[in-house]
Symmetry: C2
Subunit: 351 residues, 2 copies
């Protein structure tokens, strides 16, 4: 099979971790007789520096003409304490999500037996946790009308959802639940927000089409608690954009394997695959960043491209690297950490 | 001193836990030579049943004519899966917050040495945690314009903040930080939301008035992570209404002492004191609910009434009850749990 994959390395440690994923994907391709055409493109602060736009049209063109997008990380400290900067890397992210129609962010949280003791939670709380958030990604307060009034003294943001937006996200949720344990939790704040009431009534109306799926409705504040108390009581969770932003990040740290958590952003056509960690500027260029989240994101990509054997081969070699201690310093015993590139090479070779 | 205190017991376990707080307050009054005039008033589902309004004017009148309000909990399961019910207990809560001008919700999270092993987090993560959230409580998306369009297929909510609203909340935050470790964290989503950018710029402009306070600015998703990873790295946090709803609940479970966490809602004049737990309908009427969060809320009330010795006397007797195992079943070894009323009596007697 011939695959064209857009490669958006981005900022900070993005390029380093992406490079390892490329090695692993190429090794998979060789093993399974595929050919991957990589199409590098600019994004984030790197793109602002080069062309003044964090998601330039040229990058968008490359993405829409590819089978998938592999993404590193964006963000640069020079923008961090200047929320009013005219052009910011995050804007590129939002523009990209919207222009590529990536309305569902798929964020699994799972545990690795060998890493479970790194969790801030006690073993008995976290063991067996295997949940997936579907976060709505192109609507809500991220994309609503916002502005200032009263000479700048009043600021507002608008959270808007249409039934169609809720439905297509919820559909992915029901479908995923059918493939898993048939449990779906709809997270909202329907006791206060009108948009949440639309979410809840839309999901309620869809229940009859998935009679096997057991649906629960929980308020976002209650979920924020239970995620810490009993994370393994959840399976598939669906939620709107902002709640998803907060809860998926909260969920990511409970496993103790945050540096390993992959994600997919999907829509009607193309998918984008990226590690959930950020650009981690302090580590940039040092060849110390953990590439596994990016590598596991590539596995999600193969799954979505209809190549589950390829995906599983990646997951197996990642497990092997963990078992054999072929890991970067964040996961290693003192002074036993391997370089980012070394881990990438090892994975590619042992695949 | 003569004190008039409005007593809003509310629903579920509300009346039972309130009753214990009353016993303790009366014992404090006797000990320190005060007289408390309790003014019971209806609220929540109980008020809906009685007069069709979860926060009737008669209750409001009692509150404004009191020195403080002691509050139990509201909410009833019959409203839970009916987010569109015309009159809901939560509306009473929101109306009460707004009409009493309770713009700041003070939510401490701290640990009790004897309960630390009940935390879902490992001891070394949670030890020494002592943080306070100041959640803005009468603005933001809770009170903005909301509605439907397109025959109900589009729903929207508006998050609005004025500089004045941010300032008065932040002022409480700076003042509290000055009394504690002089560290203040402003939690926002300034990389996306205009209202958050107003928060950030307003707080930034206030920094010069509190040169000793070290202010940090963090995104809400990052805080949702760090609260689980390193809760003891925080001291005072200020944030807007919805973020505060989510984060304070998340913070409440990390200590392992959720049933003990008190809160205060304050404004320019009167304060309202309530346990952070809900109405816990399954336990209602069984005399098993833990009254300590309500009792500790009464301690916060005495503090704010300018009676710190009275407040400390309450905290000391609570600590004593914990040390001696005079606790309800949620905190007790198997079959050693005491009744709600028994704990209340013991506290009053041992004060
Ligand atoms: C950088 C920011 C705009 C972004 C978001 O809030 O969506 C990030 O936090 C994420 O979750 O991908
Ligand atoms: C019941 C609900 C409206 C309320 C809120 O969201 O403010 C509650 O969750 C709280 O935090 O007091």
């Amino acid at each position: 099979m011939e695959l064209t994959i857009a490669l958006l390395a981005g900022d900070g440690i993005g390029p380093e971790v992406i490079q390892q994923a490329v090695k692993v994907c190429d090794a998979v391709a060789t093993k399974f007789n595929h050919q991957i055409h990589w199409k590098p493109a600019l994004t984030g602060a790197a793109a602002i520096d080069a062309v003044g736009d964090p998601y330039p049209d040229s990058t968008h063109d490359i993405c829409v003409n590819s089978d998938a997008v592999l993404f590193g990380a964006i963000g640069h400290p020079r923008f961090d304490n200047d929320p009013s900067a005219k052009v910011r890397p995050e804007q590129g992210l939002l523009k990209m999500r919207q222009k590529l129609g990536l309305f569902a962010n798929v964020r699994p949280t799972f545990t690795f037996e060998s890493l479970i003791d790194r969790s801030p939670l006690k073993r008995e709380r976290i063991e067996g946790t295997d949940l997936v958030f579907l976060r709505e990604l192109t609507g809500g307060i991220y994309f609503g009308k916002r502005g200032r009034e009263d000479n700048g003294d009043t600021a507002y943001d608008t959270c808007t959802y249409t039934r169609m937006e809720v439905k297509r996200l919820a559909k992915k949720g029901f479908e995923l639940a059918m493939k898993r344990s048939k449990k779906l939790c709809c997270v909202d704040k329907a006791n206060v927000l009108e948009s949440s009431r639309l979410w809840r009534e839309t999901v309620q109306a869809m229940e009859k089409d998935y009679p096997e799926v057991e649906v629960s409705y929980e308020f976002v504040d209650a979920v924020a608690m239970r995620l810490v108390q009993w994370p393994n009581s959840y399976d598939v969770l669906i939620t709107e954009n902002l709640f998803g932003d907060i809860l998926t990040d909260e969920a990511s740290v409970i496993s103790g394997s945050m540096g390993l958590m992959p994600s997919a952003s999907i829509g009607e056509s193309i998918g984008l695959y990226e590690p959930i960690h950020g650009s981690y500027p302090q580590a940039a260029g040092k060849d110390i960043a953990n590439p596994l989240a990016t590598v596991l994101s590539a596995a999600m990509m193969f799954d979505d491209l209809g190549l589950p054997d390829e995906a599983n081969a990646i997951r197996m070699v990642v497990n092997k690297s963990l078992a054999e201690g072929m890991v970067t310093e964040d996961l290693a015993d003192k002074n036993k950490g391997r370089k980012t590139s070394e881990v990438g090479n090892w994975l590619a070779k042992n695949l």
